[in-house]
């Protein structure tokens, strides 16, 4: 039984909660966040179900580190490479933030594929979640395009020639390919405009599209709920497995569970 809080304690609590109440009364945001965070999920979700939020976390890391990298990066053909060297070697913790962004990009892509594999193998793309699979595929394509545009930005030999090859692969698409390639290059040849164009795509257009798609993806997740794993007896119409008694550390006596009789108080 909870101990009754002292008046002073209650007063402090009210004071602490006042701003939240103020916000909730005027916006309903607190309730919205609570609804999002504490919504019901099936009892037999597992660690596999965390791959989606892991992907989201990787994306947020990219967002945060990318915004800060943009403060030091110079998207100009004559200074791009030097500015990346400057970030890596001179700026305080620049090596760390750039490293997070560089390796985090791979983590993001890998997690997207793992999440996709989980959804596929669990059959979580089936009715009524087909649309969310489609949005997810768009997210994958957009995420890969984000990787492609980001790869040019260090502007070293690898970046340059990898982009040449990537754009020319686009150019071999039937009928529209040559025009796609010119559009990506910003002209017939790779030039100063290509770098600025890729930078703009990489930090404004594509992340904006990603954010919008992620919002739609999450909305559908919340609206449709998380699916049970394929082995779930609950989802198959069976009885939910009895919950094991909550684990308690040694000295604390477990509380009697509802419906269990004959236990001493």
């Amino acid at each position: 039984m909870a101990r009754r809080k002292s008046d002073r304690m209650q007063q402090i609590e009210r004071m602490a909660l006042y701003p939240l109440d103020w916000l909730e009364e005027r916006s309903g945001l607190i309730g919205g966040v609570r609804y999002f965070l504490f919504r019901k999920v099936p009892g037999d979700t597992s660690w596999w179900h965390t791959l989606g939020s892991a992907t989201l976390t990787a994306f947020l890391v990219q967002l945060a580190t990318g915004v800060i990298l943009a403060m030091y990066y110079k998207p100009d053909v004559n200074s791009a490479h030097e500015s990346v060297q400057h970030i890596t070697n001179d700026v305080w913790a620049g090596w760390l933030v750039r490293g997070m962004h560089r390796w985090g990009a791979s983590v993001f892509i890998i997690l997207m594929f793992m999440h996709m594999g989980r959804v596929f193998l669990f059959g979580a793309y089936k009715y009524p979640r087909e649309l969310n699979w489609i949005v997810g595929v768009l997210l994958l394509a957009t995420g890969l395009f984000e990787g492609l545009t980001g790869y040019l930005l260090p502007y070293d030999q690898t970046a340059y020639w990898a982009t040449v090859v990537a754009i020319n692969i686009n150019g071999t698409a039937p009928f529209v390919g040559p025009f796609l390639a010119s559009l990506l290059r910003g002209g017939a040849e790779i030039g100063p405009d290509t770098l600025a164009r890729f930078y703009s795509l990489h930090m404004l257009l594509v992340p904006g599209a990603l954010l919008g798609l992620i919002g739609l993806h999450l909305y559908l997740v919340v609206r449709l709920g998380v699916s049970s794993p394929p082995w779930s007896p609950e989802a198959a119409g069976g009885q939910p497995e009895p919950e094991p008694p909550p684990a308690r550390s040694g000295l604390v006596q477990p509380r009697p569970r509802a419906g269990v009789r004959g236990r001493p108080e």
Partner: protein, 299 residues
């Protein structure tokens, strides 16, 4: 010479404002006509201001009937019924929104897309006196295609002086852009750096390095291999290497645009080259596969 007062070029005059005035005059004319018509008809204000007719069966001076007791001023619309004014306002809102959206969006999209396709021309490049090119010897010429862009426009051509053909100098000018996916192909043999020359030409500095591509030209990316005429002999490329147009002006070798080549027959001065418009790497210029690429953006 820099003029501190600014450049002495003639600038274009600013855009004329007369269309704005014309549109304004048209608006004034239309609105004025409508206003004048209303005034001539005696004005609508008088009809609006007349007292509403008394409700039937109600004595003058009697207390007003409460709204919930009296009859509705207007019959309830049937479900789904729309009023012309309502429909007009809805369409006007959507239409105006579409027009405003288009006026704002289309120029921005054009700004993003069109420069990639307009004014795509390459400058001619002066490689210096042809006496620098020894007959029968390949030279790796490196130059800036677009000096105002700087290093990013650095390109390489493989130039070979083929001697005279019908009394005119003949050159083989091969682009180093691989016909697979655009990596820079390298001469398959030694380059003689100790004999390299840097020539100052009207197109800036040009570096000329003699080379002996005994094995033709080889791409470091995916192993495309070409012979000394630029014909594909192995690997993934779909055609031969592109070539430069060239001509000779005042004894200097000038490179022009590049064009694509499927296959060259013959060698050196006697090579027969069928010229195709410049096509991106990885795209066929002849055969049935070329039907996949009917149109090329301006190069």
């Amino acid at each position: 010479m820099d003029d501190p007062r600014g450049d002495m070029e003639r600038h274009e005059s600013p855009p004329s404002l007369w269309p704005v005035g014309a549109i304004g005059a048209a608006l004034v004319a239309v609105c004025g006509f409508l206003w004048a018509r209303d005034v001539v008809r005696g004005g609508r204000a008088t009809t609006v201001a007349t007292a509403p007719p008394l409700e039937e069966g109600r004595a003058p001076g009697a207390p007003p009937i409460p709204a919930d007791k009296g009859e509705a001023a207007m019959p309830e619309p049937a479900p789904g019924e729309r009023f012309p004014r309502n429909v007009f306002l809805e369409n006007a809102t959507l239409g105006l929104g579409a027009i405003i959206g288009g006026v704002v969006t289309l120029p921005v999209i054009g700004f993003a897309v069109m420069p990639a396709f307009l004014k795509q021309h390459s400058h001619e490049v002066d490689l210096g006196p042809i006496s620098n090119f020894q007959e029968g010897q390949y030279v790796v010429a490196t130059f800036l295609r677009e000096p105002s862009q700087g290093e990013v426009s650095r390109r390489t051509a493989f130039i070979r002086n083929n001697g005279l053909l019908h009394g005119k100098p003949s050159f083989t000018c091969i682009s180093n852009r691989c016909a697979h996916l655009g990596c820079p192909v390298q001469p398959g043999g030694p380059t003689f750096d100790d004999k390299s020359k840097t020539v100052k030409t009207p197109s800036g500095q040009v570096s000329l390095i003699p080379s002996l591509p005994a094995a033709g030209f080889i791409c470091p990316c995916h192993g495309g291999t070409y012979d000394q005429e630029g014909n594909r002999i192995a690997g993934p490329p779909v055609r031969g290497l592109d070539r430069f147009e060239f001509w000779i002006r005042n004894g200097n070798l000038i490179l022009g645009n590049t064009y694509s080549v499927a296959q060259v027959t013959g060698t050196g001065a006697n090579a027969e080259i069928k010229r195709y418009t410049l096509t991106g790497p990885g795209q066929h210029v002849d055969g049935i596969e070329s039907w996949l690429y009917p149109l090329q953006p301006p190069h």
